[in-house]
């Protein structure tokens, strides 16, 4: 009786479940996203999850990164000119670009210079009517030093905008491709202001992007439909749904069951099963990241490059790649990943050699050294298991007579304490690139301005600083390459970090998904993606 009841229940459940898959819609791609967006105005937020839901589907920028690469291509600007002194960037805007027509807004005009001015002035000008809306924090705009850099933004005519800078800045164009530089509709902003619903502007986005926002059911689903008048041609997909699924194991089950087509951030433990799963196409690509161990170059004996190099030579990085990354990583020798232009393949890594390490420590007059290794409490794209990595380094250092204690703090606390100039010990951390420019790694993580902040090695070395500053201000691309290559040689000589690994990014997708490309910045771009019939 009980058995029959169970079977009946199972049959009903089966019918119910089948019902959920029977409503065939034309070309709907479901993305099992890992979390909820904070909002839909990219400039206000910093999370990749938010950018996936906003800038990467709904908005365009003046220039953008080519899908699946770090190459800058024209987008809302058809082209740009740079003045000889490198302080004026004049953008020629694309004509005939339509904003989305949605349930909540019908545009009456095409995209023009007013929209560009609005999008940047909101972030730049504290008196702008939208500046304080939705908290008014523009962390990326500030983090990329835009307030100091931009002197003025001038509307030359309806389709020409000029950015006047306070100093030449070669990475400026790469910055303009970043999410915070997304272009909003000034007309929509005016309409919201007139209706007294300014807050709605950041929750119901209107852009020029390939997908237009339809609805957001908080923590559940975000729905988009293809922008029929997209300036680069309508997307092959008709609809796009973000099904918010925070648990990686559940995402995998949904992918297997066909409830979603693409999922981010698989569990490392599931990768083996995914690779042999016929329901899954496991894509992979080297990530635009670096995981490192930063010494404190301000504290003896780590102020001595010989000591830092000796400790680098004591670390068996291949063993870390095997044990921590389970092969899904590549030993790092430079502070930038090989996928970034100007990567210097000619540099020589501090090879694993415990005997040479001992000798170098003795030469530096260091014996019986005790220190700390800081292990992050969280999994990051550049380091899947910091604790395990710290244990391996601890054992390697013990072999050369260095005693290390492993310490860890809550993530926010870790980030805060690791910035201290008098911090005791070496910190495990890493970085994922924002814009594909070497400056985004070398200046942010190793520049003198970052000491006491994002430069966790507290390393300010004039020859290196001169090179990266020069590279930042010259607009001669070949010269920039040369300068950054040289900077990497100085970095290797000085060894402020033990460069550990560049991780591999995995993206499981359904076999019916066509032309999905892994975004080097860790994002998910669905324009150009199709589904097999």
């Amino acid at each position: 009786m009980i058995k029959r009841g169970l079977l009946a229940t199972a049959a009903v459940a089966g019918m119910l479940a089948m019902g959920s898959f029977s409503a065939a819609e034309a070309k709907t791609l479901v993305f099992c996203s890992e979390g909820s967006p904070e909002g839909f105005t990219p400039a206000l937020y910093t999370a990749g999850t938010t950018f996936d839901a906003s800038s990467r589907q709904v908005f365009n920028r003046l220039v953008e990164f080519e899908r699946g690469s770090t190459t800058i291509v024209p987008a809302l600007a058809e082209g740009f000119e740079v003045s000889e002194d490198g302080t004026e960037y004049t953008f020629n805007l694309r004509k005939g670009v339509k904003f989305h027509t949605t349930k909540f807004f019908t545009p009456t005009r095409d995209f023009n210079a007013d929209d560009v001015i609005f999008s940047f002035e909101r972030q730049r000008n504290a008196d702008h009517p939208y500046n304080k809306i939705s908290g008014g924090n523009y962390e990326y705009f500030n983090g990329m030093s835009m307030p100091d850099l931009i002197k003025d933004i001038v509307k030359v005519d309806d389709y020409t905008v000029k950015f006047i800078l306070n100093r030449p800045e070669a990475p400026f164009i790469a910055n303009m491709g970043m999410d915070f530089a997304s272009i909003h509709s000034a007309e929509y902003a005016d309409a919201m202001a007139a209706a007294g619903t300014l807050d709605d502007f950041d929750q119901k986005p209107v852009g020029t992007g390939p997908f237009q926002f339809e609805d957001y059911q908080k923590d559940s689903q975000i729905r988009y439909k293809a922008h029929p008048d997209y300036w680069s041609g309508k997307a092959p997909l008709d609809k796009l749904v973000f099904s918010i699924t925070p648990d990686a194991s559940v995402r995998y089950q949904k992918l297997k069951a066909g409830e979603c087509h693409v999922m981010p951030y698989p569990n490392p433990a599931d990768l083996e099963a995914m690779a042999s799963d016929s329901d899954v196409n496991l894509m992979q690509q080297e990530g635009l990241n670096v995981g490192y161990l930063a010494y404190n170059a301000l504290m003896p004996p780590f102020d001595n490059p010989k000591v830092r190099k000796a400790l680098n030579m004591a670390v068996n990085k291949e063993a870390i790649i095997d044990a921590v990354f389970q092969g899904a990583g590549k030993v790092a020798k430079n502070p930038i990943p090989p996928t970034i232009w100007s990567y210097n393949d000619a540099t020589v890594d501090d090879g694993y050699d415990p005997e040479a390490a001992k000798a170098l420590l003795a030469e530096a007059g260091v014996s019986g050294l005790t220190t700390k290794i800081w292990a992050m409490p969280v999994q990051r794209p550049y380091n899947p298991n910091a604790r395990r990595m710290a244990e391996l380094i601890q054992a390697d250092w013990a072999n050369v007579g260095v005693t290390a204690e492993i310490v860890s703090y809550e993530w926010g606390e870790y980030l805060k304490r690791s910035k201290d100039k008098d911090r005791d010990g070496a910190v495990l951390l890493g970085w994922t690139g924002d814009n594909g420019d070497p400056d985004n790694f070398l200046a942010v993580l190793l520049g003198c301005d970052g000491v006491g902040g994002s430069n966790r090695a507290q390393w300010c070395h004039k020859p290196f600083e001169d090179l990266i500053q020069k590279a930042k201000t010259t607009s001669d691309f070949d010269e920039r390459i040369r300068l950054y290559e040289e900077a990497q040689i100085v970095f290797k000589e000085q060894a402020p970090w033990a460069t550990i690994a560049h991780s591999v990014v995995f993206k499981p997708i359904r076999p019916e998904v066509v032309d999905f490309r892994i975004d080097p910045f860790g994002g998910h771009v669905f324009y150009g993606v199709d589904l097999k019939e």
Binding site: A23, T28, S134, L415
Partner: protein
Amino acid sequence: MIRFILTKLGLLIPTFLGVTLVAFSFIRMLPGDPVELLAGERSVSPERHAELMAALGFDKPLWEQYFSFLVGILHGDLGTSFSSKQPVLEEFFVRFPATIELATCAIIFAALIGLPAGIVAAVKRGSAFDHTLMGISLTGYSMPIFWWGLLLIILFSSPDMLGLTPVSGRISALFWVDTETGFMLIDSLLSDEKGAFRSAAAHLVLPTIVLGTIPMAIIARQTRSAMLEILGEDYVRTAKAKGLSPFRIVGIHALRNALITVITVIGLQVGVLLAGAILTETIFSWPGIGKWMIDSISRRDYFAVQGGIVLIASIVMLVNLLVDFMYGLINPRILHRRS
């Protein structure tokens, strides 16, 4: 009666103040800095850090922040979520229907199975059914929700196993159901989408079982012990002697008295359900307040966490107050004694 109600309401005030104090202090006692978490590896300058902390009001003395929190509550303002920049009250109530829908289904599931199972076990005390039921309920009670949820997903949802139920969410992504009431079962019925209701119902099956398992086990055990006590009373023996049918004795005379204990237990399960919802919602990507609270804690979203705790605690207190009033309706002796 009025005095009884007033006494109960009066007791709520110090409890509520205690809850606000705990909610306020709890999130601030956790290590971690919301501004540092926001900046991540990029980090912010000390000046920018101070600026952001001041903008959030975290530069003020703690007592002043607490006082503002209390004043805000009196004005129906629980602050603005640090991450979404939306009012906490709005963030809470937009998700609340999802939790209510799941919790209601779970408690109905728990009561529908737990009550009759407990009654039958009591009537057939010492039988194989009784022993089996008690064994199952003990297992159900001790089942870690996270493990139980994943196990059911793998068993019932994985295409490699039974593949009967959807894995997670509230409705298939193929249906475009607009939010009218926030209750997906109702919204899917109101929508024109054919099959949407079936999909919404199918999505409820596993989370309901997972969330309802512990309350079901508790209800079954409590019903059994309450019924055993009542069945041993003199008046039941008298009823039997008078030749009343077993159905009348158990269903009318014994059950009504046993219900006092059972309703107390069901009332107390509201707290258990809301606590269990945090894990269940996370496993099944159920967009309710449990998942929202977890996200808010990990982001150190002070206003969302303290506001959320106060709202959840208020709901639990109100339900328990309601249970107290229901005692009086079920057994007027309690009301008269207390009055």
